[in-house]
């Protein structure tokens, strides 16, 4: 299991565009991918746009990306990079 904690950078938070970009990348990996927002017991499926959008994540929200599977290291690294780069927005 591999995990990393990252902070949402985008001004508008985790709206549909970042959610789409995140899941498009997440489904490329075999590993299961879970998103755990800090300070809650919620666990969301990182391959589900609907799950991600309903987390209500804003700019500054802290989440842990957790992957389990053959490509877990790459999954965590690439998805973390995506979040920290603000999804290429701004």
């Amino acid at each position: 299991m591999h995990s990393q904690t990252v902070v949402i950078q985008n001004t508008a938070g985790f709206h549909i565009r970042p959610a789409q970009l995140f899941t498009e990348k997440a489904v490329q990996f075999q590993s299961t991918i879970l998103i755990k927002p800090e300070g809650t017991a919620t666990v969301a499926d990182g391959k589900s746009i609907l799950n991600l959008m309903t987390l209500g994540l804003d700019k500054g929200s802290v989440i842990t990306i957790e992957a389990e599977g053959p490509d877990e290291a790459a999954a965590v690294a690439e998805l973390s990079e995506l979040v920290e780069s603000g999804f290429g927005e701004e």
Partner: protein
């Protein structure tokens, strides 16, 4: 079918066009909650049915997306693409399968429960944008259910003759299925002036009566219906005499339209030979398509906000470029004045996260927002400059309050242009850059600004609000809102005079430009370009052609000496009555 029916008159909100007489096409798509829940003892069969319905749903959406791209543009297509991604989402389809497999629910029940649950999550969210996504989820869920159940109810794509569509509401994925040539009108249970249905109806010339409420239940499929999109009237089972009255009114409307149509080819030139450019205000590139036929000689205002408001994310440079290019090409070399983003906290753009302000109209909006968010602004400028290679494009900046903002905005235009040139992009000739005059400080500095800008465009709607300090939407004080206020006229005059002194032109894009009553004044002041809603063009041309500029100039001198809007209006009315 009842043999004896009594005429009924219903009233809704008239939001578009005039009288239409036709057959009602009652559109009642399946509602999720119409389905009764049931268990199954054949879960494998239910799974197979669900799988088949899902596949068909994806196919249908795919076809609609192709159609949407052609008829309604990329933005509407994006909504449908979003629906396909929901269909494939691990939180949408797998839970349905689990309900069938683990709890022996029927496929219909599984769909109903899951869609309600997921949509419910979105409806509970704080953000309005998220709550609106719930409608998309219900839309795709409804489509899936319809396929599953094999619902035969009237489908919009079945319409093959002229009808008036009667529905609770019409969603974007509904309207994208319509063949416009068969749609006479819309009648809906809910909805208002700014709803999707109203905007679509206006841009396509379809009559629409919205917000009829529960009375809509009385309209039967196939029955004759008369509607009036101006007054909001709706007549069911019309008597012969009623039909005759409306038919006569419709004939009169059409006759007037025809005589106005004669002005399409004619110029707005006064009897003593002075001409004025008549242009149109638009919000989407699709509206540019019919403009030349309507007699528009240019686009005096292309409001770019609609592109930003109808998207779920920041429109890319490519998306913007496509829209601006479409408008430029549609006008075949005639001027297209594109106004940069004019938006603020009163309109929610979720991806911009605009601050909540106590006074949004005096706050962070329009050019102020753009100068602060340079990347956003430069992207838009790049898209406009590139579109300039395909037509006669001009740029104007909204809400300029002084020299600094103008110069900064102009500098960013230069920067965007240099970027494109160094990238080897196709940029065409340098573009005319102007500003909106809507803030009194800019109007009072028109003389200095005229030295640097290429043109002015007077936005009377906001100019009146800021000058008279009145909110047009505030019923208690809206009586003060009048563009014939002597102070406003003084400002308009000084702006036009300033532009003339420096060899520049002045246009007007507020609703004053489309008001025939204002025509003698605008002729007298020498306004160069008048930009208005396309439906006002013919009447304005008709009015201008009755006038003599010399008489209008004398009239204007008198009017500028009057003290109140009421006096000015009554002088204008009297003057117009005398013109033939």
């Amino acid at each position: 079918m009842t043999t004896e029916t009594i005429e009924q008159r219903l009233t809704g909100l008239g939001v578009s066009e005039g009288i239409r007489i036709g057959r009602a096409f009652v559109y009642k798509p399946l509602k999720l909650d119409d389905i009764k829940e049931s268990k199954t003892d054949q879960p494998d069969e239910e799974l197979a049915r669900l799988e088949q319905a899902k596949a068909q749903c994806a196919l249908e959406l795919g076809e609609l997306i192709e159609r949407a791209k052609l008829t309604l543009g990329e933005e509407k297509a994006a909504i449908l693409k979003g629906q396909i991604s929901f269909l494939n989402d691990p939180a949408f389809y797998p839970p349905m399968q689990k309900l069938i497999q683990n709890e022996q629910w029927s496929a219909e029940t599984a769909v109903r429960r899951t869609v309600n649950q997921v949509a419910g999550l979105f409806e509970a969210m704080a953000s309005e944008y998220m709550r609106e996504r719930a409608a998309d989820i219900r839309d795709v869920g409804g489509r899936l259910m319809t396929l599953l159940v094999g619902h035969q109810g009237a489908r919009l794509s079945d319409i093959t003759s002229e009808v008036i569509i009667v529905a609770d509401d019409l969603t974007p994925s509904d309207t994208v299925q319509l063949d416009k040539q068969f749609v006479l009108g819309f009648v809906t249970r809910i909805g208002g002036k700014t709803s999707h249905t109203a905007i679509l109806a206006n841009s396509l010339g379809i009559a629409a009566v919205l917000g009829l409420g529960s009375a809509i239940e009385q309209i039967q499929h196939g029955e004759e219906l008369i509607i009036n999109g101006s007054t909001g009237e709706c007549v069911l089972y019309p008597k012969e005499s009623t039909k005759e009255d409306f038919a006569a009114a419709l004939a009169a409307e059409q006759k007037e339209q025809e005589s106005l149509n004669a002005y399409r080819e004619l110029a707005a030139v006064t009897k003593d030979g002075f001409s004025f450019e008549i242009a149109a205000n638009i919000g989407t590139p699709q509206e540019a398509a019919g403009l030349l036929e309507k007699g528009a000689e240019a686009i005096g205002l292309y409001r770019t906000e609609f592109l930003f408001m109808s998207a779920s994310q920041m429109p890319s440079e490519e998306t913007q470029f496509e829209a601006y290019r479409q408008a430029a090409e549609a006008m075949q070399g005639r001027p297209v004045v594109i106004r940069t983003l004019d938006i603020g906290g009163d309109k929610e753009l979720p991806y911009l996260q605009l601050p909540e302000e106590l006074n949004p109209f005096l706050g962070y909006r329009a050019i102020r927002l753009c100068l602060d968010q340079k990347q956003l602004f430069i992207t838009q400028l790049r898209a406009i400059i590139r579109a300039g290679a395909y037509g006669n494009v001009k740029i104007m900046f909204p809400m300029i309050s002084g020299m600094d903002e103008w110069r900064q905005a102009k500098a960013l235009y230069e920067e965007a242009r240099q970027q494109l040139i160094s990238e080897g992009a196709n940029v065409g000739e340098a573009i005319e850059i102007g500003i909106m005059i809507e803030i009194p400080s800019a109007a009072l500095m028109a003389d200095r600004l005229a030295k640097e800008v290429d043109f002015f465009s007077i936005g009377t709607n906001d100019l009146v609000q800021y000058t008279v300090a009145v909110d047009r939407m505030n019923e208690k004080v809206s009586y003060l809102y009048d563009y014939f206020h002597p102070a406003v006229l003084q400002l308009i005059k000084s702006v036009i005079d300033a532009s003339n002194k420096h060899g520049k032109w002045t246009g007007m894009c507020g609703s004053m430009a489309g008001d025939p009553l204002a025509a003698p004044l605008l002729v007298g002041l020498g306004l160069h370009e008048w930009s208005m809603s396309p439906s006002a063009i013919q009447r304005i041309k008709q009015t201008v052609r009755k006038l003599e500029r010399s008489a209008c100039e004398q009239l204007t001198e008198r009017l500028l000496d009057l003290d109140t809007p009421a006096e000015i209006r009554s002088e204008l009315e009297a003057f117009l009555k005398l013109q033939q």
